[in-house]
Symmetry: C2
């Protein structure tokens, strides 16, 4: 069966099965454009950017998986890296080198995803004046500067009838701090989306953010790592928050997880912690703790007078 195994150097377009329908941000392989695809064995094939961004991303994955400094407990927050392969590009332009990565949502029936770009500064110190100015404008025009992060994309499963809520890019770019608060609550509260096939106040979604293995706990583990690690500076990198909207609705395990993605602007940390990422991550943790507190507050029916 054809797949993106490291021992196979070329994939034909027939072997590339589909675009990643659950991708919420970044370049999409739609309408003949160059973008990531899913291969037969469910791996995420991301075209390497042709300039230094492509080589930086490969170098990062290689360093991440070759250094003994990064423990398994932290490696689980990154997609598994299977190497690079030359396969046909989604835009029909012919063979193109791709990163072969774990498809981080392949185990999810109805993946609910939020892509959050971390850092109040998305440019890197070595960048050109033009690049700095462009990023700075975007950081000031979105919540990056004020909150230390911005939502870059999201989809929330609302039930069989309504499917996914997936606001478009322009709508997301205009999010204010209050929109971010609201969306972080909505993300784990399917009954707040006004879908008629959702029972009010059901099921308790508290274990998506909270609980021993919830998103909140995972973010705290990641934060501990960032307080210490000085190998990498993650400029303009995202954290994906993911859970299963189907399992969650059936009272099953929502498989809440976080994954870091997009490493085209990762640089050597030069023995300094990534204070820009850490600050943004700490702010996100505070926002999520507040969203959890709202979410965990007493349901309205408890306020009803006794019969």
């Amino acid at each position: 069966m054809p797949n993106c195994q490291p021992n196979k150097l070329f994939l034909t377009s027939q072997e590339i099965e589909q675009i990643q329908e659950h991708q919420v941000a970044g370049h999409l392989a739609l309408g003949g454009k160059l973008g990531p695809q899913i291969d037969e064995s469910g791996r995420f094939c991301k075209p390497l950017q042709e300039d230094e961004r492509g080589s930086r991303e490969v170098a990062f994955y290689e360093a991440l998986y070759s250094t003994s400094k990064v423990k398994k407990q932290i490696l689980r927050f990154f997609p598994v890296f299977y190497g690079t392969h030359i396969t046909e590009a989604s835009d029909g332009s012919g063979l193109h080198p791709h990163l072969v990565l774990q498809d981080v949502v392949s185990d999810y029936l109805k993946p609910c995803i939020m892509d959050i770009k971390i850092g109040s500064r998305t440019w890197y110190p070595q960048a050109s004046e033009d690049y700095v100015a462009k990023c700075l404008r975007k950081d000031r025009g979105t919540t990056s500067l004020s909150l230390g992060f911005r939502i870059s994309g999201l989809q929330i499963y609302r039930g069989k009838k309504s499917g996914y809520w997936k606001p478009d890019r322009k709508q997301i770019q205009k999010f204010t701090a209050d929109d971010v608060r609201s969306v972080l609550r909505k993300f784990v509260s399917s009954n707040q989306l006004g879908d008629s096939d959702c029972k009010p106040d059901s099921p308790p979604a508290c274990y998506i953010y909270g609980g021993f293995s919830g998103i909140f706990q995972q973010l705290l583990e990641l934060k501990s790592w960032f307080e210490d690690q000085t190998d990498f500076h993650f400029n303009s990198c995202s954290i994906l928050l993911i859970y299963d909207g189907e399992s969650e609705k059936n009272g099953g395990n929502p498989q809440s997880t976080i994954k870091l993605i997009d490493f085209a602007h990762v640089f050597d940390g030069n023995n300094v912690i990534d204070h820009n990422f850490l600050g943004g991550l700490s702010s996100l943790i505070k926002f999520i703790s507040e969203a959890s507190a709202t979410q965990l507050s007493k349901p309205k029916w408890l306020d009803a007078p006794a019969a």
Copy 2:
């Protein structure tokens, strides 16, 4: 006896005793310039800046001491605020409103001081394009951008013979990451300054940074507060690290302490943590933990072969 008590609205120039000789950064009241002075009762009288910076600094101190949200445990990291008073300015221009604050080094025989401006960004989001560009240039030209903080001034007491080491402003502005590492080690290691009246490897300065009440522990307490507090954003504010060089040399209590100063650019936090300050503070903590580790490493004489 004349002093800056809140019930006294005017001080004459005779009542202002001296300039603060241990000030290591900021505007100095030297050569007929406007700057802070020490009154007879040892209080630090800082002239209010005439534009919005002056009113913002007063508003900050008033908010800090009026809100019940800030616990005593955290308030001890700020100078005591005695109000504002109109006194004669140090530049001879006549009466001028001043902030009346605790002189944070008055209890020290030989104060060793480091002024560290915290944050990789020293501009505030509401600032004008010109101001942003000016600060950004300075942040990129110093260690602010790379380390999340920069040293703005320092003095280290080297003993009776050599007095203080107080590098000038231009020298400090050129500090690289390695200079910062070196200076943080020197700051607590008087024997590294090459002064002949210092015994080598004596006395153990480990309790300046380390120990139950050392600078490291105080910075961790401050960090906990910054992970939670959303009332204030401290743009372009400094942390002073202070200890007594005389007591330390005599094996006494070095009175290690940290104080936050300079609040002309503090703004409402709008329910968001100060991720810029927190990131820089976390980076400083990492640097100090490394300086302590070097400092606490086995003294050289332990390597000497047994007699």
